[in-house]
């Protein structure tokens, strides 16, 4: 029997006061985010030992480090004990630290190359959150940054699972992080207006920011070190469509995820809806897949609470589902659905461990 990949630590940082405690307290109704979908100011030192060394990093890196520190602590590790050559980090992003990229390019355009800050450049590269995280948590195993739409979180867990199963690493921080950018938000608004000229508003939540991190391990490793598995990554599927066949593609992703999990789609007691595009189509696909006889699931919609934190969205969904399962608010399995602007889609089945949490 294959050793199961389990979630042993959870960390999340979202707009306003969005976090694990708030999620569990507010479930099943999440409050509408106050303000503009931005993460409230916080001191990294409060979450991460030695966090002051990272005071000049981009918002995307800062969010990631904070979420990772929370997840590492939740899993029973510390900054000193998590790292090593048998630990890995996989970060998923869409735009990452776009404000620093914008700042660097603005300096270059308006003041010339000699005024362009090297820090703004090095923090602009997509793997800046991962590189800084490797330093912060002393991770010397594989450290990757994957770029994609919202479902990039599922790609990250897929890669992490491969590395765990193949024995390359024993534990992995899987992270999604995104920082809000005025320029990027403006561009997406332009795109949406062009696509839906007659609709001032549509079902695409506004871009926002945040980060979520999960510590993933094989169940045997968690047991061996006396840790606690909080949820099981039972199955996942990734698909791509051209935008016209979203229902079919999502159905294929759901079937792949359920097939790997050995569960039926009707087993899911909660469904976490995408925070990106095609939300209605996805919901219809899910309802159709479950059939009329199945009891209705709890629909978990984070969009009002967190907006759409793009590359962080999928991990945030997974973190919420894992936290709810771990807290006993739902039994699981949960079905976590994600959609991206370029037509990528994913479905993940997150299940309970089947063991009482001690």
């Amino acid at each position: 029997m294959t050793d199961r990949v389990v979630v042993s630590g959870i960390g999340m940082i979202g707009p306003g006061a969005f976090g694990r405690a708030a999620v569990i307290q507010a479930f099943p109704a999440f409050p509408r985010a106050a303000g503009t979908g931005r993460v409230s100011e916080f001191a990294l030192d409060e979450h991460l030992e030695g966090g002051r060394a990272f005071r000049r990093v981009s918002g995307a890196t800062k969010f990631a480090l904070a979420a990772m520190a929370v997840a590492v602590g939740d899993a029973g590790f510390s900054v000193q004990t998590f790292g090593g050559s048998d630990a890995g980090i996989i970060v998923g992003i869409t735009h990452g630290g776009a404000p620093y990229s914008v700042q660097f390019h603005r300096e270059l355009m308006l003041e010339g190359c000699l005024a362009a800050s090297p820090l703004h450049f090095s923090e602009s590269v997509p793997n800046a959150p991962a590189g800084n995280a490797a330093i912060a948590f002393r991770v010397r195993g594989p450290v990757h940054t994957l770029i994609g739409d919202e479902p990039v979180g599922t790609e990250a867990i897929d890669l992490a699972a491969d590395l765990l199963w193949s024995g390359v690493i024993k534990r992995c921080l899987v992270v999604g992080t995104e920082e809000w950018s005025e320029v990027v938000t403006h561009a997406y608004a332009q795109i949406d207006r062009a696509r839906r000229p007659r609709r001032a508003s549509n079902d695409v939540p506004p871009l926002s920011e945040g980060a979520a991190a999960l510590v993933l391990e094989l169940e045997s490793a968690v047991t061996e070190r006396g840790g606690t598995a909080q949820a099981v990554l039972a199955g996942w599927g990734l698909e791509r469509c051209d935008g016209d066949r979203v229902d079919d593609a999502m159905l294929a992703a759901v079937r792949a995820a359920c097939g790997q999990a050995g569960r039926s789609v009707t087993d899911a007691d909660h469904v976490v809806l995408p925070t990106g595009r095609y939300r209605h189509a996805v919901m219809h696909a899910c309802v159709a897949a479950r059939g009329e006889a199945a009891p209705p699931p709890i629909w978990v919609d984070l969009a009002q609470a967190v907006g759409n934190p793009a590359g962080a969205a999928n991990l945030l969904q997974l973190a919420v589902s894992a936290a709810l399962i771990s807290a006993g608010k739902v039994n699981g399995p949960g079905l976590i659905l994600s959609t991206g602007a370029t037509g990528t889609l994913s479905a993940v089945v997150l299940a309970g461990t089947g063991r009482a949490r001690t």
Binding site: I89, F121, S122, P126, A130, I135, R140, V184, H186
Partner: protein, 407 residues
């Protein structure tokens, strides 16, 4: 389940030109394709040269409007077309559930992002063309080529700075070897753009002179651009369909320095660990290694650290193994470097020639490796390593073997 992984197709675009023939010919000739930059204005930069691909033909896109897509996608198109044509893999062979597209890039279509932001600032937000933002995303280019070449499934885009391309190839290799996939189209790419050029300029990493990897007087790197693509297949499937096997990937190692965002760890400990992993993964001994295609950026930090890593991982044998870096001729291709240099390593094994490390004049006692100064016919060239190291502490090492060298 462990399967052998064959390389059946190669596609390469660098400042040497488009295609493996011209790239190999100019590489062996030790020709420099570092030239004045024409893609953007350079008067205020301390250095004005790069490995720019000149007269890049617009790729023959059938499904997308060529004028609306980024230079990155055009580079990638040329390399993918060459690799697929050589491999003979068609849409019929490409099962979306058993095939993978894995590509590495540092900044993807950043030139489009620059154009958008330029309009946004200079003309006002309403005048900026939003499609440029979508096209600048690093996952846009792989999706473009997948659509163009009817490659179903999903893409995986690695952005691990200068190790991205090697990581993507390593990923494809691992999936096939483990039996999780049958075929992979993998590699890396990065176009020359002012954003990246200015970034390395701001870090004072660019040389104002010649790029001289491992030379005592080395003073920095030269940026390049291009794409490298490899078609990987399960050995038995490649044989069964009668494909010509160009080489074999036999090992992959990956670690992180966990040291500094932009500087390598001076003693090269984690890079050495990646080298050891790769060699062990390939089940070869240091004595079996006949050539190392070094990361060799030509910066004082990198080359000293890479030397330390080679010595730590391979022992005294490291001083005997021929080593060269291609960056002195074509520049540093960032996310494309690992794949392009991997391809040059495969070609070196196939042809039995050691590619040169041009501009090397003065040995550096701190390095002390056996640097290949001019192209040399190899006495034995069956197993070779290709090193890639990058920002954020990324280290990746690929091990290639000659066809039939397992006998």
């Amino acid at each position: 389940m462990t399967r052998r992984v064959a390389i059946t197709g190669i596609g390469i675009v660098t400042s040497h030109g488009i295609g493996k023939d011209v790239n190999w010919r100019k590489t062996l000739a030790g020709e420099s394709s570092i030239r004045p930059i024409t893609l953007f204005e350079t008067p205020t930069y301390r250095t004005k040269r790069a490995g720019q691909v000149v007269d890049l033909p617009v790729a023959p896109w059938r499904r997308l409007r060529a004028s609306r897509i980024d230079r990155a996608s055009h580079l990638l198109h040329h390399a993918v077309a060459e690799a697929l044509a050589e491999s003979g893999v068609t849409g019929a062979d490409w099962s979306p559930s058993r095939s993978v597209v894995a590509l590495g890039t540092t900044l993807g279509g950043m030139a489009s992002g620059e154009r958008y932001h330029q309009s946004y600032v200079r003309k006002g937000p309403a005048h900026a063309r939003p499609s440029l933002v979508l096209d600048h995303l690093a996952h846009a280019q792989p999706l473009h080529v997948m659509e163009e070449f009817s490659l179903g499934g999903t893409a995986r885009v690695f952005s691990n700075a200068c190790a991205s391309g090697a990581n993507a190839v390593g990923h494809g290799f691992r999936l096939i070897r483990a039996g999780q996939g049958d075929r992979a189209l993998c590699g890396g790419y990065d176009p020359l753009c002012e954003f990246a050029f200015a970034g390395f300029h701001s870090l004072q990493a660019l040389t104002t002179e010649l790029c001289r990897p491992f030379d005592r007087n080395r003073s920095g790197l030269v940026i390049g651009e291009g794409a490298g693509i490899l078609v990987l297949e399960a050995w038995d499937l490649a044989r069964a369909r009668g494909a010509r096997i160009l080489g074999e990937i036999v090992g992959y190692g990956e670690t992180n320095d966990a040291f500094h965002m932009t500087r390598p760890e001076p003693e090269g400990k984690s890079a050495a660990a990646a080298l050891r992993q790769a060699v062990q993964d390939a089940r070869v001994a240091p004595e079996d290694v006949d050539y190392v295609n070094a990361h060799g950026t030509g910066t004082p930090f990198n080359d000293a650290s890479e030397t330390a890593a080679l010595l730590a991982a391979l022992g005294p044998r490291a001083r005997e193994i021929p080593v060269s870096s291609s960056k002195s001729m074509i520049g540093h291709l960032l996310g494309g470097a690992g794949a392009v240099e991997g391809i040059l390593t495969v070609l070196a094994i196939r042809e039995g020639w050691l590619p040169p490390n041009v501009n090397y004049e003065t040995p550096d006692p701190e390095c002390g490796l056996r640097i290949v100064q001019t192209a040399t016919r190899a006495e034995r060239l069956r197993v070779a390593l290709s090193n890639s190291f990058g920002f954020g502490g990324a280290n990746a090492v690929l091990v290639f073997r000659a066809v039939g060298a397992d006998a």
